[in-house]
């Protein structure tokens, strides 16, 4: 007896579920063209987000690699104990330029550059 009641209730639930689902599907099928067009435009706007950050800025994918390379180069430079030989003049130049006693030299930088060039050529001439 109670089994029969349960069956009837279950049948009623199933009918309600089916009728609700059918009414809902009919309302979805009945959506007007303008609404469907607006949904389509919204979808395209959402899909456009997919390209941002990769398609339109492809160089960004190299930023992490460049950062790692820069850190590695700095680490090698720092931990080697002394700078490479060819960087020594550059460091010396900075020391000179930052020395307040030699500020006058800044005003005649072009002259001292000429002297250095002239001496270099003379030395090459002696060797040759």
């Amino acid at each position: 007896m109670s089994g029969s009641k349960d069956d009837m209730r279950n049948d009623g639930v199933r009918r309600l579920e089916k009728k609700a689902a059918d009414a809902f599907e009919a309302s979805v099928r009945g959506l007007d063209a303008e609404t469907r067009s607006r949904l389509n435009r919204g979808r395209q706007r959402a899909l456009a987000e997919l390209g941002i950050g990769t398609r339109f800025r492809p160089w960004l994918q190299w930023v992490p690699a460049a950062g790692v390379a820069a850190v590695v180069a700095l680490a090698i430079f720092t931990w080697s104990g002394r700078p490479p030989a060819d960087t020594a003049p550059a460091v010396a130049d900075f020391e000179i330029l930052l020395n307040t006693d030699d500020l006058e030299m800044l005003e005649e930088l072009e002259f001292y550059s000429w002297i250095e060039l002239d001496e270099g050529e003379g030395a090459n001439g002696n060797v040759g």
Partner: protein, 202 residues
């Protein structure tokens, strides 16, 4: 001369593969949205009772899915998308409640029934006879009124299970609750709807 020669061949192949992969993903997402968007709109519209707001909420949910979960497996998109949408709907309803309280405080009517026109919100007919169309529209309007009277969680569980066809686990993921809670909410929703809609619905 092609850029993809000799030493560059490996990296170019990788780029091509990633490009093809991105295109395939975009096509999959496009198909997914095209499949789900109309039902999602109607579900959001039933919840917020306004088509314009529902369109905004669905588009927002699409954008958030693309931004945050485009790289997930296709099977995960449906519960994720509905979880985002349900969260957006709840946020919207909270703001609406605050707005209605403020409006009521200033002495204006804030009854949402005033703004809701079921005839205007009803869908257009689609190849059915006028009688069939009218009957279907009336049934849907009746159902929407009954759904509007349900607690939010029961309404969500019913719409996700019955309208979108999600299983219990997917519905639980979409609602952020346990499987058991989904079953409870759904069962209560069905019985409330039976009581509200009467004999001819069941």
């Amino acid at each position: 001369m092609s850029a993809c020669t000799e030493g560059f061949a490996v990296s170019c192949t990788g780029e091509l593969e990633s490009g093809v992969g991105a295109l395939r993903r975009e096509q999959e997402l496009n198909r997914f949205f095209a499949d789900v968007e109309a039902r999602a709109l109607r579900i959001a519209e039933i919840a917020v009772r306004n088509r314009e707001d529902a369109l905004d909420l669905v588009q927002d949910a699409m954008i958030r899915l693309v931004r945050n979960y485009a790289d997930r497996d296709r099977e995960e998109w449906t519960p994720l998308f509905y979880r985002i949408l349900q969260n957006r709907v709840r946020d919207f309803q909270r703001r609406q409640n605050v707005r209605n309280r403020v409006i009521a405080w200033f002495g204006r009517s804030s009854d949402p029934e005033d703004d809701y026109d079921p005839i205007a919100a009803a869908p257009d007919p689609d190849g059915r006879t006028p009688d069939e169309s009218l009957e279907s529209q009336e049934a849907m309007q009746e159902l929407e009124r009954a759904l509007a009277a349900l607690p939010a969680r029961q309404r969500e569980a019913f719409m996700l299970r019955n309208f979108e066809g999600l299983d219990v686990a997917q519905t639980a993921a979409a609602m952020g609750i346990s499987d058991g809670s989904v079953k409870t909410h759904y069962s209560r929703a069905v019985h409330s709807l039976r009581d509200t809609l009467g004999e001819h619905w069941s």
